[in-house]
Symmetry: C2
Subunit: 270 residues, 2 copies
Amino acid sequence: MASWANNVRAVLLDVSGVLYDSGGSGGGSAIQGSVDAVNRIRQAGLKLRFCTNESQATRSHFAQKLQRFGFSISKEEVTAPGPAATRLMKEQGLRPHLLVHDDLLPEFESIETSDPNCVLIGDAAENFSYQNVNRAFQVLINLQKPVLISLGKGRYYKETDGLKLDVGAYMKALEYACDIKAEVVGKPSPNFFLSALEEMGAKPEEAVMIGDDIVNDIGGAQSCGIRAVLVRTGKYRPSDEKHPEVTADGYVDNLAHAVDILLASRASNQ
Amino acid sequence: MASWANNVRAVLLDVSGVLYDSGGSGGGSAIQGSVDAVNRIRQAGLKLRFCTNESQATRSHFAQKLQRFGFSISKEEVTAPGPAATRLMKEQGLRPHLLVHDDLLPEFESIETSDPNCVLIGDAAENFSYQNVNRAFQVLINLQKPVLISLGKGRYYKETDGLKLDVGAYMKALEYACDIKAEVVGKPSPNFFLSALEEMGAKPEEAVMIGDDIVNDIGGAQSCGIRAVLVRTGKYRPSDEKHPEVTADGYVDNLAHAVDILLASRASNQ
Protein backbone atom coordinates (compact mmCIF):
# COMPACT_ATOMS: atom_id res chain seq x y z
CA MET A 1 0.00 0.00 0.00
CA ALA A 2 1.41 3.42 -1.01
CA SER A 3 2.30 5.36 2.13
CA TRP A 4 1.16 8.68 0.65
CA ALA A 5 -2.42 7.42 0.93
CA ASN A 6 -2.35 6.62 4.66
CA ASN A 7 -4.64 8.55 6.98
CA VAL A 8 -5.75 11.09 4.38
CA ARG A 9 -8.82 13.11 5.45
CA ALA A 10 -8.62 15.94 2.90
CA VAL A 11 -7.88 16.06 -0.83
CA LEU A 12 -6.65 19.10 -2.76
CA LEU A 13 -7.14 18.76 -6.50
CA ASP A 14 -5.44 20.78 -9.20
CA VAL A 15 -7.97 21.31 -11.98
CA SER A 16 -6.57 21.89 -15.47
CA GLY A 17 -4.67 18.76 -16.52
CA VAL A 18 -6.11 16.70 -13.63
CA LEU A 19 -9.89 17.06 -14.05
CA TYR A 20 -9.99 18.25 -17.66
CA ASP A 21 -7.86 19.19 -20.66
CA SER A 22 -8.45 22.70 -21.99
CA GLY A 23 -8.84 23.60 -25.65
CA GLY A 24 -11.24 22.69 -28.43
CA SER A 25 -14.56 24.31 -29.26
CA GLY A 26 -16.22 23.54 -25.90
CA GLY A 27 -13.29 24.94 -23.89
CA GLY A 28 -12.02 21.43 -23.11
CA SER A 29 -13.18 18.00 -21.98
CA ALA A 30 -13.05 15.85 -18.85
CA ILE A 31 -10.11 13.47 -18.47
CA GLN A 32 -11.27 9.84 -18.54
CA GLY A 33 -12.44 8.59 -15.17
CA SER A 34 -12.05 11.95 -13.40
CA VAL A 35 -15.78 12.80 -13.10
CA ASP A 36 -16.35 9.48 -11.39
CA ALA A 37 -13.19 9.91 -9.31
CA VAL A 38 -14.48 13.18 -7.83
CA ASN A 39 -17.77 11.47 -6.95
CA ARG A 40 -15.92 8.62 -5.26
CA ILE A 41 -13.87 11.10 -3.13
CA ARG A 42 -17.18 12.63 -1.95
CA GLN A 43 -18.83 9.27 -1.28
CA ALA A 44 -15.86 8.24 0.89
CA GLY A 45 -16.50 11.28 3.09
CA LEU A 46 -13.15 12.93 2.35
CA LYS A 47 -12.88 16.71 2.47
CA LEU A 48 -12.27 18.25 -0.94
CA ARG A 49 -10.97 21.49 -2.47
CA PHE A 50 -10.30 22.42 -6.07
CA CYS A 51 -7.08 24.47 -6.27
CA THR A 52 -6.53 26.55 -9.41
CA ASN A 53 -4.30 29.45 -10.49
CA GLU A 54 -6.73 30.61 -13.18
CA SER A 55 -7.59 34.29 -12.75
CA GLN A 56 -9.72 35.11 -15.77
CA ALA A 57 -13.05 34.42 -14.10
CA THR A 58 -14.77 34.35 -10.74
CA ARG A 59 -15.06 31.07 -8.88
CA SER A 60 -18.75 30.95 -9.90
CA HIS A 61 -17.94 30.99 -13.59
CA PHE A 62 -15.13 28.54 -13.04
CA ALA A 63 -17.41 26.08 -11.20
CA GLN A 64 -20.07 26.43 -13.89
CA LYS A 65 -17.54 25.49 -16.59
CA LEU A 66 -16.61 22.33 -14.69
CA GLN A 67 -20.27 21.48 -14.10
CA ARG A 68 -20.76 21.55 -17.89
CA PHE A 69 -18.01 18.91 -18.16
CA GLY A 70 -20.05 16.75 -15.75
CA PHE A 71 -18.24 17.48 -12.47
CA SER A 72 -19.97 17.76 -9.13
CA ILE A 73 -18.46 21.02 -7.85
CA SER A 74 -19.69 24.17 -6.14
CA LYS A 75 -18.14 27.64 -6.12
CA GLU A 76 -17.45 27.32 -2.39
CA GLU A 77 -15.08 24.39 -3.01
CA VAL A 78 -12.79 26.36 -5.33
CA THR A 79 -9.56 27.86 -3.95
CA ALA A 80 -8.32 30.47 -6.41
CA PRO A 81 -5.83 33.36 -6.28
CA GLY A 82 -8.55 36.03 -6.26
CA PRO A 83 -10.04 35.18 -2.84
CA ALA A 84 -6.54 34.51 -1.47
CA ALA A 85 -5.53 38.03 -2.54
CA THR A 86 -8.69 39.47 -0.99
CA ARG A 87 -7.83 37.84 2.32
CA LEU A 88 -4.25 39.17 2.13
CA MET A 89 -5.39 42.71 1.34
CA LYS A 90 -7.93 42.74 4.16
CA GLU A 91 -5.32 41.48 6.64
CA GLN A 92 -2.81 44.16 5.59
CA GLY A 93 -5.24 47.06 5.12
CA LEU A 94 -4.47 47.24 1.40
CA ARG A 95 -6.76 49.07 -1.04
CA PRO A 96 -5.92 47.84 -4.54
CA HIS A 97 -5.85 49.51 -7.89
CA LEU A 98 -7.14 46.54 -9.94
CA LEU A 99 -5.65 45.47 -13.25
CA VAL A 100 -7.59 42.24 -13.82
CA HIS A 101 -9.96 40.58 -16.26
CA ASP A 102 -13.47 42.10 -16.24
CA ASP A 103 -14.91 38.70 -15.36
CA LEU A 104 -12.83 38.61 -12.17
CA LEU A 105 -14.01 42.01 -10.84
CA PRO A 106 -16.98 40.62 -8.85
CA GLU A 107 -14.45 38.68 -6.74
CA PHE A 108 -13.26 41.98 -5.24
CA GLU A 109 -16.61 43.61 -4.51
CA SER A 110 -15.99 43.45 -0.76
CA ILE A 111 -12.69 45.34 -1.03
CA GLU A 112 -12.24 49.09 -0.71
CA THR A 113 -10.56 50.37 -3.87
CA SER A 114 -10.62 54.16 -3.44
CA ASP A 115 -7.33 55.94 -2.70
CA PRO A 116 -5.32 52.81 -3.62
CA ASN A 117 -2.17 51.88 -1.68
CA CYS A 118 -1.24 48.85 -3.80
CA VAL A 119 -1.71 47.38 -7.27
CA LEU A 120 -3.24 43.95 -7.89
CA ILE A 121 -2.70 42.30 -11.28
CA GLY A 122 -4.19 39.12 -12.65
CA ASP A 123 -4.42 37.59 -16.09
CA ALA A 124 -6.12 40.70 -17.53
CA ALA A 125 -5.69 39.65 -21.20
CA GLU A 126 -7.23 42.39 -23.40
CA ASN A 127 -7.29 44.71 -20.40
CA PHE A 128 -3.46 44.89 -20.57
CA SER A 129 -3.64 48.01 -22.77
CA TYR A 130 -0.81 50.55 -22.62
CA GLN A 131 -3.14 52.98 -20.87
CA ASN A 132 -4.11 50.43 -18.22
CA VAL A 133 -0.59 49.12 -17.60
CA ASN A 134 0.74 52.69 -17.49
CA ARG A 135 -2.00 53.68 -15.04
CA ALA A 136 -1.03 50.77 -12.74
CA PHE A 137 2.62 51.87 -13.04
CA GLN A 138 1.75 55.46 -12.12
CA VAL A 139 -0.18 54.31 -9.03
CA LEU A 140 2.82 52.21 -7.93
CA ILE A 141 5.54 54.78 -8.61
CA ASN A 142 3.64 57.44 -6.68
CA LEU A 143 3.40 55.29 -3.54
CA GLN A 144 5.92 55.84 -0.75
CA LYS A 145 6.42 52.06 -0.67
CA PRO A 146 5.05 50.45 -3.82
CA VAL A 147 3.23 47.13 -3.21
CA LEU A 148 2.44 44.90 -6.19
CA ILE A 149 0.34 41.76 -5.71
CA SER A 150 0.24 39.31 -8.61
CA LEU A 151 -2.28 36.48 -9.09
CA GLY A 152 0.34 33.98 -10.21
CA LYS A 153 3.54 34.36 -12.18
CA GLY A 154 2.89 32.27 -15.30
CA ARG A 155 4.81 33.18 -18.46
CA TYR A 156 2.15 32.16 -20.97
CA TYR A 157 -0.64 29.68 -21.56
CA LYS A 158 -2.15 27.97 -24.54
CA GLU A 159 -5.49 28.84 -26.08
CA THR A 160 -7.02 27.31 -29.15
CA ASP A 161 -5.84 30.26 -31.29
CA GLY A 162 -2.27 30.20 -29.96
CA LEU A 163 -0.08 31.04 -26.98
CA LYS A 164 -1.02 34.04 -24.85
CA LEU A 165 1.08 36.16 -22.49
CA ASP A 166 0.19 35.42 -18.87
CA VAL A 167 0.20 37.70 -15.85
CA GLY A 168 3.87 36.97 -15.05
CA ALA A 169 5.11 38.97 -18.06
CA TYR A 170 3.27 42.09 -16.95
CA MET A 171 4.33 41.50 -13.35
CA LYS A 172 7.95 41.59 -14.57
CA ALA A 173 7.36 44.80 -16.55
CA LEU A 174 6.01 46.58 -13.45
CA GLU A 175 8.71 45.08 -11.20
CA TYR A 176 11.42 46.45 -13.51
CA ALA A 177 9.82 49.87 -14.01
CA CYS A 178 9.42 50.41 -10.24
CA ASP A 179 12.49 48.42 -9.10
CA ILE A 180 10.38 46.25 -6.76
CA LYS A 181 9.48 42.58 -6.23
CA ALA A 182 5.85 41.52 -6.50
CA GLU A 183 4.09 39.41 -3.89
CA VAL A 184 2.78 36.37 -5.75
CA VAL A 185 -0.54 34.90 -4.60
CA GLY A 186 -1.54 31.46 -5.89
CA LYS A 187 0.43 28.24 -6.30
CA PRO A 188 3.25 27.65 -5.37
CA SER A 189 2.82 30.24 -2.60
CA PRO A 190 2.44 28.50 0.82
CA ASN A 191 -0.38 30.89 1.77
CA PHE A 192 -2.44 29.49 -1.06
CA PHE A 193 -2.26 25.90 0.18
CA LEU A 194 -2.71 26.92 3.81
CA SER A 195 -5.86 28.85 2.87
CA ALA A 196 -7.30 25.75 1.21
CA LEU A 197 -6.55 23.69 4.33
CA GLU A 198 -8.07 26.32 6.61
CA GLU A 199 -11.25 26.42 4.54
CA MET A 200 -11.53 22.63 4.96
CA GLY A 201 -10.55 22.64 8.62
CA ALA A 202 -7.73 20.19 7.90
CA LYS A 203 -4.09 19.95 9.00
CA PRO A 204 -1.21 19.61 6.51
CA GLU A 205 -0.45 16.06 7.62
CA GLU A 206 -4.07 15.02 6.99
CA ALA A 207 -4.08 16.21 3.37
CA VAL A 208 -2.83 15.18 -0.04
CA MET A 209 -2.43 17.40 -3.11
CA ILE A 210 -2.94 15.83 -6.55
CA GLY A 211 -1.61 17.79 -9.50
CA ASP A 212 0.17 17.72 -12.86
CA ASP A 213 2.72 20.50 -12.20
CA ILE A 214 5.81 19.16 -10.46
CA VAL A 215 6.93 22.60 -9.23
CA ASN A 216 3.76 24.59 -8.55
CA ASP A 217 1.52 21.75 -7.35
CA ILE A 218 3.88 19.16 -5.89
CA GLY A 219 6.76 21.33 -4.68
CA GLY A 220 4.37 24.01 -3.43
CA ALA A 221 2.24 21.61 -1.39
CA GLN A 222 5.26 19.76 0.05
CA SER A 223 6.76 23.05 1.26
CA CYS A 224 3.69 23.31 3.53
CA GLY A 225 4.03 19.76 4.83
CA ILE A 226 1.28 18.43 2.57
CA ARG A 227 1.87 15.13 0.77
CA ALA A 228 1.69 15.50 -3.00
CA VAL A 229 1.07 13.09 -5.86
CA LEU A 230 1.84 13.71 -9.52
CA VAL A 231 -0.59 12.53 -12.19
CA ARG A 232 0.66 11.46 -15.62
CA THR A 233 -1.96 13.62 -17.40
CA GLY A 234 -2.12 17.28 -18.44
CA LYS A 235 1.26 18.98 -18.74
CA TYR A 236 3.06 15.95 -17.21
CA ARG A 237 6.26 14.86 -18.96
CA PRO A 238 8.28 11.73 -18.05
CA SER A 239 11.26 13.96 -17.10
CA ASP A 240 9.12 15.30 -14.22
CA GLU A 241 9.80 12.01 -12.37
CA LYS A 242 13.51 12.89 -12.36
CA HIS A 243 13.09 16.55 -11.45
CA PRO A 244 16.31 17.91 -9.88
CA GLU A 245 14.54 19.62 -6.97
CA VAL A 246 11.15 18.03 -6.41
CA THR A 247 10.28 14.38 -5.76
CA ALA A 248 6.58 13.61 -5.46
CA ASP A 249 5.28 11.38 -2.67
CA GLY A 250 3.66 9.26 -5.36
CA TYR A 251 3.17 8.99 -9.12
CA VAL A 252 -0.13 7.83 -10.59
CA ASP A 253 -1.49 7.39 -14.10
CA ASN A 254 -4.41 9.74 -13.56
CA LEU A 255 -6.86 10.96 -10.94
CA ALA A 256 -8.91 7.75 -11.07
CA HIS A 257 -5.77 5.76 -10.28
CA ALA A 258 -4.99 8.06 -7.34
CA VAL A 259 -8.49 7.60 -5.95
CA ASP A 260 -8.26 3.80 -6.32
CA ILE A 261 -5.16 3.88 -4.09
CA LEU A 262 -6.69 6.34 -1.60
CA LEU A 263 -9.86 4.31 -1.14
CA ALA A 264 -7.99 1.01 -0.86
CA SER A 265 -5.90 2.54 1.91
CA ARG A 266 -9.01 3.68 3.78
CA ALA A 267 -10.62 0.24 3.43
CA SER A 268 -7.54 -1.46 4.88
CA ASN A 269 -7.62 0.88 7.89
CA GLN A 270 -11.23 0.24 8.75
CA MET B 1 44.10 73.65 -19.15
CA ALA B 2 41.78 70.64 -18.67
CA SER B 3 43.40 67.57 -20.20
CA TRP B 4 40.06 66.20 -21.45
CA ALA B 5 40.02 69.03 -24.02
CA ASN B 6 43.41 68.30 -25.61
CA ASN B 7 43.53 67.28 -29.27
CA VAL B 8 39.78 66.88 -29.67
CA ARG B 9 38.64 66.65 -33.31
CA ALA B 10 35.13 65.27 -32.80
CA VAL B 11 32.35 66.09 -30.35
CA LEU B 12 29.48 63.78 -29.42
CA LEU B 13 26.58 65.60 -27.77
CA ASP B 14 23.80 64.08 -25.74
CA VAL B 15 20.64 66.03 -26.50
CA SER B 16 17.96 66.03 -23.79
CA GLY B 17 19.40 67.75 -20.71
CA VAL B 18 22.42 69.09 -22.63
CA LEU B 19 20.86 71.05 -25.51
CA TYR B 20 17.34 71.45 -24.15
CA ASP B 21 15.05 70.60 -21.25
CA SER B 22 11.89 68.73 -22.22
CA GLY B 23 8.42 69.51 -20.96
CA GLY B 24 6.08 72.49 -21.11
CA SER B 25 3.63 73.43 -23.84
CA GLY B 26 6.23 73.74 -26.64
CA GLY B 27 7.83 70.39 -25.83
CA GLY B 28 10.72 72.06 -24.03
CA SER B 29 13.21 74.91 -24.37
CA ALA B 30 16.90 75.40 -25.16
CA ILE B 31 19.34 75.44 -22.23
CA GLN B 32 20.99 78.84 -21.87
CA GLY B 33 24.02 79.25 -24.12
CA SER B 34 23.64 75.89 -25.84
CA VAL B 35 22.38 77.16 -29.23
CA ASP B 36 25.43 79.41 -29.45
CA ALA B 37 27.69 76.63 -28.16
CA VAL B 38 26.68 74.33 -31.02
CA ASN B 39 27.42 77.11 -33.49
CA ARG B 40 30.86 77.68 -31.95
CA ILE B 41 31.66 73.95 -32.26
CA ARG B 42 30.86 74.18 -35.97
CA GLN B 43 32.82 77.40 -36.49
CA ALA B 44 35.88 75.80 -34.92
CA GLY B 45 35.77 73.07 -37.58
CA LEU B 46 35.15 70.25 -35.09
CA LYS B 47 33.21 67.19 -36.22
CA LEU B 48 29.86 66.89 -34.50
CA ARG B 49 27.21 64.24 -33.78
CA PHE B 50 24.03 64.40 -31.72
CA CYS B 51 23.62 61.14 -29.78
CA THR B 52 20.13 60.36 -28.44
CA ASN B 53 18.28 57.32 -27.12
CA GLU B 54 14.86 58.71 -28.07
CA SER B 55 12.92 56.24 -30.22
CA GLN B 56 9.50 57.84 -30.64
CA ALA B 57 10.32 59.63 -33.88
CA THR B 58 12.54 59.46 -36.95
CA ARG B 59 15.74 61.45 -36.99
CA SER B 60 14.02 63.94 -39.34
CA HIS B 61 11.31 64.75 -36.83
CA PHE B 62 13.84 64.85 -34.04
CA ALA B 63 16.05 67.33 -35.96
CA GLN B 64 13.03 69.48 -36.79
CA LYS B 65 12.11 69.72 -33.11
CA LEU B 66 15.61 70.95 -32.27
CA GLN B 67 15.54 73.41 -35.16
CA ARG B 68 12.40 74.93 -33.65
CA PHE B 69 14.40 75.53 -30.45
CA GLY B 70 16.94 77.45 -32.56
CA PHE B 71 19.61 74.76 -33.06
CA SER B 72 21.60 74.32 -36.24
CA ILE B 73 21.21 70.57 -36.79
CA SER B 74 20.48 68.25 -39.69
CA LYS B 75 18.98 64.78 -39.66
CA GLU B 76 22.28 63.33 -40.92
CA GLU B 77 24.05 64.47 -37.76
CA VAL B 78 21.76 62.52 -35.40
CA THR B 79 22.88 59.15 -34.08
CA ALA B 80 19.83 57.33 -32.72
CA PRO B 81 19.01 53.71 -31.81
CA GLY B 82 16.82 53.18 -34.90
CA PRO B 83 19.59 53.46 -37.52
CA ALA B 84 21.99 51.57 -35.22
CA ALA B 85 19.45 48.73 -35.09
CA THR B 86 19.03 48.84 -38.86
CA ARG B 87 22.78 48.42 -39.30
CA LEU B 88 22.84 45.53 -36.84
CA MET B 89 19.96 43.75 -38.56
CA LYS B 90 21.49 44.14 -42.02
CA GLU B 91 24.82 42.80 -40.78
CA GLN B 92 23.18 39.74 -39.19
CA GLY B 93 20.56 39.06 -41.87
CA LEU B 94 17.74 39.78 -39.44
CA ARG B 95 14.20 40.52 -40.62
CA PRO B 96 12.33 42.19 -37.77
CA HIS B 97 8.78 42.04 -36.57
CA LEU B 98 8.45 45.71 -35.54
CA LEU B 99 6.84 46.84 -32.29
CA VAL B 100 7.66 50.56 -32.43
CA HIS B 101 6.02 53.99 -32.48
CA ASP B 102 4.26 54.75 -35.78
CA ASP B 103 6.45 57.83 -36.21
CA LEU B 104 9.57 55.64 -36.16
CA LEU B 105 8.43 53.26 -38.92
CA PRO B 106 9.98 55.27 -41.81
CA GLU B 107 13.40 54.63 -40.23
CA PHE B 108 13.08 50.93 -41.18
CA GLU B 109 11.84 51.29 -44.76
CA SER B 110 15.06 49.76 -46.13
CA ILE B 111 14.70 46.62 -44.02
CA GLU B 112 12.98 43.40 -45.11
CA THR B 113 10.22 42.61 -42.61
CA SER B 114 8.44 39.63 -44.20
CA ASP B 115 8.93 36.20 -42.61
CA PRO B 116 10.46 37.77 -39.46
CA ASN B 117 13.34 36.08 -37.64
CA CYS B 118 13.60 38.59 -34.79
CA VAL B 119 11.55 41.16 -32.89
CA LEU B 120 12.55 44.81 -32.61
CA ILE B 121 10.93 46.92 -29.90
CA GLY B 122 11.21 50.65 -29.28
CA ASP B 123 9.28 53.13 -27.19
CA ALA B 124 5.99 52.21 -28.86
CA ALA B 125 3.77 54.03 -26.30
CA GLU B 126 0.11 53.56 -27.33
CA ASN B 127 1.19 50.79 -29.70
CA PHE B 128 1.96 48.61 -26.65
CA SER B 129 -1.54 47.10 -26.76
CA TYR B 130 -2.09 43.55 -25.48
CA GLN B 131 -2.67 42.40 -29.05
CA ASN B 132 0.58 43.96 -30.28
CA VAL B 133 2.72 42.79 -27.36
CA ASN B 134 1.20 39.31 -27.61
CA ARG B 135 1.87 39.22 -31.36
CA ALA B 136 5.53 40.10 -30.75
CA PHE B 137 5.65 37.36 -28.09
CA GLN B 138 4.16 34.80 -30.50
CA VAL B 139 6.73 35.68 -33.18
CA LEU B 140 9.54 35.22 -30.64
CA ILE B 141 8.33 32.00 -29.04
CA ASN B 142 7.86 30.37 -32.44
CA LEU B 143 11.47 31.05 -33.48
CA GLN B 144 14.03 28.28 -33.13
CA LYS B 145 16.33 30.82 -31.46
CA PRO B 146 14.37 33.91 -30.37
CA VAL B 147 16.20 37.22 -30.98
CA LEU B 148 14.88 40.37 -29.31
CA ILE B 149 16.45 43.74 -30.14
CA SER B 150 15.49 46.66 -27.90
CA LEU B 151 16.01 50.36 -28.66
CA GLY B 152 17.20 51.20 -25.14
CA LYS B 153 16.28 49.81 -21.75
CA GLY B 154 14.81 52.84 -19.97
CA ARG B 155 12.33 52.18 -17.15
CA TYR B 156 10.19 55.27 -17.62
CA TYR B 157 10.36 58.90 -18.67
CA LYS B 158 8.56 62.07 -17.76
CA GLU B 159 5.99 63.80 -19.91
CA THR B 160 3.99 66.87 -19.03
CA ASP B 161 0.99 64.70 -18.03
CA GLY B 162 3.01 62.30 -15.89
CA LEU B 163 5.48 59.43 -15.95
CA LYS B 164 5.26 56.95 -18.82
CA LEU B 165 6.49 53.36 -19.08
CA ASP B 166 9.52 53.18 -21.37
CA VAL B 167 10.66 50.40 -23.68
CA GLY B 168 12.67 48.66 -20.93
CA ALA B 169 9.53 47.50 -19.13
CA TYR B 170 8.18 45.75 -22.22
CA MET B 171 11.62 44.39 -23.01
CA LYS B 172 11.57 42.73 -19.56
CA ALA B 173 8.08 41.30 -20.14
CA LEU B 174 9.17 39.64 -23.38
CA GLU B 175 12.49 38.49 -21.89
CA TYR B 176 10.61 36.75 -19.05
CA ALA B 177 7.90 35.21 -21.23
CA CYS B 178 10.47 33.73 -23.65
CA ASP B 179 13.29 33.12 -21.13
CA ILE B 180 15.78 35.14 -23.22
CA LYS B 181 17.99 38.24 -22.94
CA ALA B 182 17.41 41.15 -25.29
CA GLU B 183 20.18 42.82 -27.28
CA VAL B 184 20.05 46.49 -26.33
CA VAL B 185 20.90 49.04 -29.02
CA GLY B 186 21.53 52.67 -27.96
CA LYS B 187 23.52 54.18 -25.11
CA PRO B 188 25.34 52.75 -23.14
CA SER B 189 25.97 50.05 -25.78
CA PRO B 190 29.51 50.39 -27.22
CA ASN B 191 28.19 49.80 -30.75
CA PHE B 192 26.17 52.97 -30.47
CA PHE B 193 29.18 55.18 -29.73
CA LEU B 194 31.36 53.38 -32.28
CA SER B 195 28.69 53.98 -34.95
CA ALA B 196 28.71 57.70 -34.20
CA LEU B 197 32.51 57.75 -34.50
CA GLU B 198 32.45 55.80 -37.74
CA GLU B 199 29.89 58.18 -39.24
CA MET B 200 32.24 61.07 -38.42
CA GLY B 201 35.39 59.24 -39.50
CA ALA B 202 36.93 59.81 -36.07
CA LYS B 203 38.93 57.61 -33.69
CA PRO B 204 37.93 57.17 -30.02
CA GLU B 205 41.00 59.06 -28.79
CA GLU B 206 40.10 62.05 -30.98
CA ALA B 207 36.60 62.42 -29.54
CA VAL B 208 34.83 63.70 -26.47
CA MET B 209 31.28 62.87 -25.32
CA ILE B 210 29.33 65.55 -23.45
CA GLY B 211 26.27 64.34 -21.54
CA ASP B 212 24.15 64.61 -18.39
CA ASP B 213 23.81 60.86 -17.65
CA ILE B 214 26.76 59.57 -15.63
CA VAL B 215 26.12 55.92 -16.54
CA ASN B 216 24.70 55.90 -20.06
CA ASP B 217 26.61 58.87 -21.49
CA ILE B 218 29.83 59.03 -19.49
CA GLY B 219 30.36 55.39 -18.58
CA GLY B 220 29.20 54.23 -22.01
CA ALA B 221 31.57 56.51 -23.93
CA GLN B 222 34.53 55.74 -21.66
CA SER B 223 34.06 52.00 -22.18
CA CYS B 224 34.87 52.68 -25.85
CA GLY B 225 37.97 54.76 -25.05
CA ILE B 226 36.18 58.07 -25.63
CA ARG B 227 36.77 60.88 -23.13
CA ALA B 228 33.55 62.01 -21.50
CA VAL B 229 32.49 65.18 -19.70
CA LEU B 230 29.47 65.55 -17.43
CA VAL B 231 27.37 68.74 -17.60
CA ARG B 232 25.63 70.05 -14.50
CA THR B 233 22.32 70.46 -16.36
CA GLY B 234 19.43 68.15 -17.22
CA LYS B 235 19.17 65.10 -14.96
CA TYR B 236 22.55 65.87 -13.29
CA ARG B 237 22.63 65.56 -9.49
CA PRO B 238 25.63 66.52 -7.31
CA SER B 239 25.93 62.87 -6.19
CA ASP B 240 26.87 62.01 -9.81
CA GLU B 241 30.33 63.48 -9.11
CA LYS B 242 30.85 60.78 -6.45
CA HIS B 243 29.42 57.90 -8.49
CA PRO B 244 30.74 54.55 -7.21
CA GLU B 245 31.60 53.22 -10.67
CA VAL B 246 32.02 56.08 -13.11
CA THR B 247 34.34 59.11 -12.91
CA ALA B 248 33.98 61.62 -15.73
CA ASP B 249 37.08 63.06 -17.43
CA GLY B 250 35.70 66.49 -16.63
CA TYR B 251 32.76 68.27 -15.01
CA VAL B 252 31.39 71.51 -16.47
CA ASP B 253 28.50 73.80 -15.60
CA ASN B 254 26.83 73.44 -18.97
CA LEU B 255 27.52 72.92 -22.66
CA ALA B 256 28.65 76.54 -23.15
CA HIS B 257 31.24 76.04 -20.41
CA ALA B 258 32.48 72.85 -22.06
CA VAL B 259 32.87 74.63 -25.39
CA ASP B 260 34.76 77.51 -23.73
CA ILE B 261 37.31 75.00 -22.45
CA LEU B 262 37.46 73.09 -25.75
CA LEU B 263 38.12 76.20 -27.82
CA ALA B 264 40.67 77.60 -25.38
CA SER B 265 42.56 74.29 -25.64
CA ARG B 266 42.56 74.50 -29.45
CA ALA B 267 43.77 78.12 -29.37
CA SER B 268 46.70 77.19 -27.13
CA ASN B 269 47.71 74.38 -29.51
CA GLN B 270 47.73 76.54 -32.63
